[in-house]
């Protein structure tokens, strides 16, 4: 049985893959900020901001295959090339080198003396902000190109031993366990070289004091002001940590050197699609462009409203549909049957927003909270479910065991409920699973009419403010929910009716 459920779940994987592709295509439709706003290439601040915007959506990466994945080494090399050539990008590269910081030093300083003197001085000057962040060297040394170059050469002779991953790892470990200002100071000496370990440690530790130190260090070396304060509440702490995680997810290629097998996997992993899919799977859906909140947190807040409403509506419509369907089947071809058929057709054809608007208008006096929206939503699936219940009930009533039960003298009600309904309920239950996504879709409209702040309401606001990240996330969530419902529905069908199980497996095999 479990194997069957598992098998059905595995069948959904290609679908999920397809879903991810469709939503990914949707993200590529969104306008590229680089095309949106002009700005001259000389405006370095503007270019940096633009780069940041594009990187947040992985637009700097190729779509599916990355033939030349970048890491800190290639980043530093590219900067050196530009600085030696002294071209348009040189100014930008100075800033980039300072941003890459300590992580880039092991790939830069050993080769410093092979670079011609003029660019060497320029590079050494560009690195000055790093020295200030580390708190080493004095201003006089860093003031002129030649002395700065000398300073960095000396720095590397003294300190290269600190720039090894195991050493930093040990330091960060100690900082988390027994934080002290001295240890923090020591980690500042390696600057961004420690960033990978810092972010990793943030993820693993729950200790407030350690988080304060870790985020302070990370903020110091990256010059982004996102820190945990000692008196922050738990929610804020979580937000800061997840902020760092998603920042690292976007920027790790600036600070980490690819080695060995990682280089090969990077050609797949360092692509727009892979980064986006993996991010989405781990709840990193980016930041909402309208208010800068993490989309995932917003989704966690809004989705339960919509999903809960849809679920209640499903329950309500099932509660009406089952008795009504049984009644129509029992009195098949008679007045009751025809009347319900007509009524259901009317319900089926009523636009959801019309029902919702009518209920909202007439129900405004008595503010009944969730009741009216749920009623409005329930009309969406009522017809289909009743019809299904009626059809399966008619089929059940025609079975031989009903005749037998009747012949043996069972009462009408007993025959209907115990013998027929038990079997006739199965298709309706599974239909409910399929109806759920339809209700979620309809809930978008109902929420807007009743002003309920759920997913749909938020989506319409997002469309107004062109909040791309939210729209993509909602589309993805809806598709995943639908697929999950489908799998559940099929598994439930198989559980309740073994014949279906066989059939499903057989059918899959032939196709």
């Amino acid at each position: 049985m479990f194997a069957y459920a598992l098998r059905r779940a595995i069948w959904a994987i290609p679908t999920l893959f397809g879903v991810s592709l469709v939503v990914f295509v949707l993200t590529t439709l969104l306008p590229d900020p680089a095309l949106d706003e002009g700005g001259s290439p000389a405006d370095v601040a503007h270019r940096l901001r633009l780069d940041e915007l594009r990187r947040a959506r992985f637009l700097d990466l190729p779509r599916f295959v990355n033939v030349a994945p970048t890491d800190v080494r290639t980043g530093v090399d590219a900067c050196i090339v530009h600085l030696v050539a002294d071209d348009d990008d040189a100014e930008l590269c100075e800033i980039r080198l300072a941003q890459i910081g300590g992580a880039g030093l092991p790939y830069l300083l050993p080769h410093l003396d092979t670079i011609p003197p003029t660019p060497r001085g320029r590079i050494a000057m560009a690195l000055a902000p790093i020295a200030r962040r580390m708190g080493v060297g004095d201003e006089r040394e860093l003031a002129s190109p030649s002395s700065a170059a000398l300073f960095w050469e000396r720095f590397w002779e003294d300190r290269s031993v600190d720039f090894t991953a195991p050493a930093v790892h040990r330091e960060v470990d100690r900082l988390v366990k027994r934080g002290s200002d001295l240890r923090e100071e020591e980690l500042r000496f390696v600057d961004t070289f420690a960033l990978e370990q810092l972010v990793e440690a943030m993820r693993l530790t729950k200790d407030r004091d350690a988080l304060v130190r870790l985020t302070r260090l990370a903020s110091h070396v990256t010059e982004r002001d996102v820190t945990v304060k000692p008196d922050d509440d738990a929610k804020r702490v979580r937000a800061v940590v997840s902020d760092w995680q998603s920042w690292w997810y976007v920027h790790d290629s600036d600070y980490v050197a690819l080695q060995g097998g990682a280089k090969v996997t990077a050609s797949i992993a360092q692509t727009r699609y892979a980064k986006w899919v993996l991010g989405a799977a781990t709840g990193q859906l980016g930041l909402s462009t309208s208010d800068g909140e993490p989309v995932f947190d917003k989704l966690l807040a809004r989705a339960p409203v919509t999903l809960g409403m849809a679920f209640l509506a499903l329950l309500l419509s099932a509660a009406i549909a089952v008795p009504l369907g049984v009644l129509a089947a029992w009195r098949r071809g008679h007045f009751v049957d025809h009347t319900t058929a007509l009524l259901l057709l009317a319900f089926y054809s009523l636009p959801t927003f019309l029902v919702a608007e009518l209920l909202a208008t007439f129900g405004r006096a008595s503010d009944a909270g969730f009741v009216l929206p749920v009623v409005a939503l329930a009309t969406v699936s009522l017809s289909v479910m009743t019809q299904q219940q009626r059809a399966s009930m008619i089929e059940a009533l025609g079975q031989d065991y009903i005749r037998v039960a009747r012949a043996k003298g069972a009462r009408t009600l007993r025959v209907a409920v115990v013998h027929a309904l038990r079997n006739a309920l199965v298709p309706t239950i599974t239909l409910a699973g399929v109806q759920f996504p339809a209700l979620v879709g309809a809930a978008f409209v109902v929420e807007e009419v009743f002003g309920i702040h759920g997913m749909g309401w938020e989506t319409l606001r997002a469309i107004e403010s062109r909040d791309a990240a939210w729209i993509v996330a909602v589309t993805l969530l809806c598709a995943v929910v639908t697929t999950a419902c489908l799998v559940t529905s099929d598994v439930a069908y198989g559980l309740l009716d073994p014949r279906v199980r066989e059939q499903q497996i057989m059918r899959r095999r032939t196709t």
Binding site: L26, L345, E395, T482, R507, T511
Partner: protein, 363 residues
């Protein structure tokens, strides 16, 4: 009927007024044959003609009326008269041809300055602001359905909205039928890799709630227009068609006469056109008839939510959405609502009647 496991559109199978057995294949064929389905009135009446089904006839009638409204919208509501003599010049059907001179002159001036004229039923166009905003409907005001918040005549907007919606929905359904039919028959005919690919594509697209996918596409596309909406809606509709055509093609392809045609050297295309298409055509018509109201519903919902592209002439959803800002103006909700409801009911009835005609099992 549905060979794709985990068929998410299963809910569309047991449609309204469907007569008997569950169409979700519950038992193997042999078992179903042994079911003793008691005879019903409908069955004993023998094959009923489609037009003799009263509801189907009523639906067809309403649908025909709506089509006539759409065709003759300019006769029913337009600023410019149907014919007039103005400054010694005779104008015929300026309401349709929209000559530049008269448009520049304006509808009111044309009417008042004309020596004689034959006006449209309601002498107001759908887009031109005429009288005071939010005028209640009535004979006195000359606006049978009242006016909206911008003073546009609601009757004109409703009538012209019929055209907007019907044309749009028909076109979107056509495209989805074409696309779905093509892919479905490809999958059914060739099987193997093509089939697997189309099957996964069907599953993928049906994993999105249609409204959500359309909203997502409309929001993601840099400049959402009617064309993108059109494509987005067609995209959400084709899987249903493809699924049906694929199943049907697969089933028909095993018949003896198809085998014989193949053995005689007919190309797959010829087999598809001559032997399979006639079997599928009826089903396609049913899907089309059911698809049109579904598309209209989505479009109206988008207009109501004010996220659709700017509608061409007029749209019911847009007028109805104005009700939310003017809750006392019931006519903004009522008249387009009735038209929308009538359209959907009528087209569903037509689809149902066609389905019953096609499929003796459901009788």
């Amino acid at each position: 009927m549905s060979d794709v496991p985990g068929d998410p559109n299963r809910e569309s199978i047991p449609l309204l007024l469907a007569r008997t057995t569950s169409r979700i294949a519950l038992a193997p064929k042999e078992a179903r044959a042994s079911l003793r389905v008691p005879s019903t009135r409908a069955e004993s009446a023998g094959p009923i003609g489609y037009l003799r089904s009263r509801l189907g006839a009523a639906g067809t009638l309403v649908a025909a009326a709506l089509v006539l409204f759409a065709i003759f919208a300019d006769m029913l509501a337009n600023d410019l008269p149907i014919a007039c003599k103005l400054h010694g010049q005779l104008w015929l059907f300026p309401n349709i041809t929209q000559p530049a001179e008269l448009v520049a002159l304006g509808g009111d001036a044309t009417s008042s300055e004309a020596e004689w004229k034959v006006s449209a039923l309601v002498p107001h166009g759908p887009t031109s602001p005429t009288a005071a905003p939010l005028l209640a409907p009535g004979r006195v005001t000359g606006h049978p359905f009242g006016t909206d918040r911008e003073g546009r005549d609601v009757f004109a907007r409703v009538i012209h909205g019929t055209r907007t919606y019907l044309v749009f929905a028909l076109a979107a359904v056509m495209v989805s039928l074409l696309f779905g039919g093509l892919l479905g028959s490809l999958a059914g005919l060739f099987g193997g890799g093509a089939d697997a690919l189309v099957g996964r594509a069907i599953e993928t697209v049906s994993a999105f709630p249609p409204l959500v996918l359309v909203l997502g596409i409309q929001a993601a596309v840099p400049h959402a227009t009617v064309a993108t909406l059109f494509l987005a809606i067609a995209l959400t509709r084709w899987p249903e068609v493809a699924r049906l055509v694929r199943a049907e093609v697969m089933q028909v392809a095993t018949r003896d006469y198809v085998m014989a045609a193949r053995a005689l050297g007919a190309s797959p295309l010829r087999v598809l056109r001559r032997h399979i298409a006639p079997n599928v055509r009826g089903q396609l018509i049913v899907l089309g008839a059911i698809g049109v109201p579904a598309v209209i519903l989505i479009e109206a919902s988008l207009d109501f939510l004010r996220v659709g592209p700017p509608a061409g002439a007029a749209s019911w959803g847009e007028t109805m959405s104005e009700f939310r800002d003017a809750p006392m103006a019931w006519w903004l909700l009522a008249f387009p609502g009735v038209f929308l409801f009538a359209t959907i009911v009528a087209l569903n009835l037509v689809g149902e009647a066609r389905r019953e005609m096609m499929d003796p099992r459901t009788r």
